[in-house]
């Protein structure tokens, strides 16, 4: 039988304590690393059932366990090597739902202003919030 601890606070031997709500609320609820160039491939992930490739630079993370609401926090980093003429700026234009998160990745042309959606061969995302 697996052991189980029910507690409100965890305290170290040195006396530093932290509410277990910080442990539960502060843990990432999903993260993923994927290659979106060509046939999409997930490198590693937590709480991810799949990633949908919906078009150029347009990906949707589908969660195994849904978030409690659509107010969760998301952070992204990537690079645009899939299109060598573009430098990736960021993920943008989100569609946020409890069971999924859709985003577009955009980049700008080298040495000239011109943002456009582009595939990435490395997209990284971390989700924080409450699970349902």
């Amino acid at each position: 039988m697996a052991g189980k601890i029910i507690a409100d606070t965890i305290e170290t031997g040195a006396g530093a304590d932290i509410s277990t709500s910080y442990v539960v609320n502060g843990s990432a609820k999903a993260w993923a690393s994927w290659n979106g160039a060509g046939t999409l491939a997930v490198n590693d992930s937590l709480n991810l059932s799949s990633i949908s490739d919906l078009g150029t630079g347009n990906y949707q993370m589908n969660f195994s366990s849904s978030l409690n609401n659509d107010d969760y926090a998301y952070n992204f980093t990537g690079n645009g090597r899939a299109e060598s003429s573009r430098f990736l700026h960021s993920a943008m234009d989100y569609t946020v739902a409890t069971g999924s998160l859709q985003m577009y990745w955009s980049g700008s042309l080298n040495s000239s202003w011109g943002v456009a959606y582009c595939d990435t061969n490395a997209s990284l995302a971390v989700i924080h919030g409450d699970l349902a």
């Binding site: 170290t12 980093t77 645009g80």
Partner: protein, 140 residues
């Protein structure tokens, strides 16, 4: 209110897998996998410096707008998720409103090292004063 006093938490069934119940009570999730394994707040201008960090062995100013992070404890593979944000703090220039952060295309991650780049709105590398980063994944 109950308190657990301990220096270490270890899974009973599997040492590296402690399960936590979700806030809504409908799901469970691995505690270890959800925790950030590395984070840093640093100043990337002038002589770069770390304001605060976790699991950071050192940082290197490789060149303008290119920073190398070395972790104390390595990850289990190079497939971990690392996200960064950066800005100047001035709040009124293209340099701060279009950070164009990326991890480096020419320096793929290793289990204990990641290189990230900061760029301006025309994709030129530029130093940033306020840089934050976190890594999520499995420790070795």
């Amino acid at each position: 209110m109950s308190t657990v006093i301990t220096d270490n938490l270890t899974g009973k069934t599997a040492a590296g897998d402690i399960t936590i119940t979700s806030e809504g009570g409908a799901a469970t999730q691995s505690l270890q996998q959800g925790l950030a394994k590395f984070w840093i707040n640093m100043d990337g201008t002038g002589t770069i410096s770390t304001r605060d960090s976790l699991n950071t062995a050192s940082i290197t100013d490789s060149q303008t707008g290119v920073y190398q992070y070395n972790s104390t404890n390595p990850m289990s593979s190079d497939d971990y998720t690392c996200v960064y944000n950066a800005g100047n703090g001035s709040g009124n220039s293209d340099d701060s409103t279009n950070p164009g952060n990326s991890f480096s295309a020419s320096h793929p991650n290793t289990a204990s090292q990641a290189v990230m780049e900061t760029m301006n709105d025309v994709a030129t590398n530029i130093d940033r004063q306020y840089i934050g980063g976190t890594w999520h994944g499995d420790l070795a």
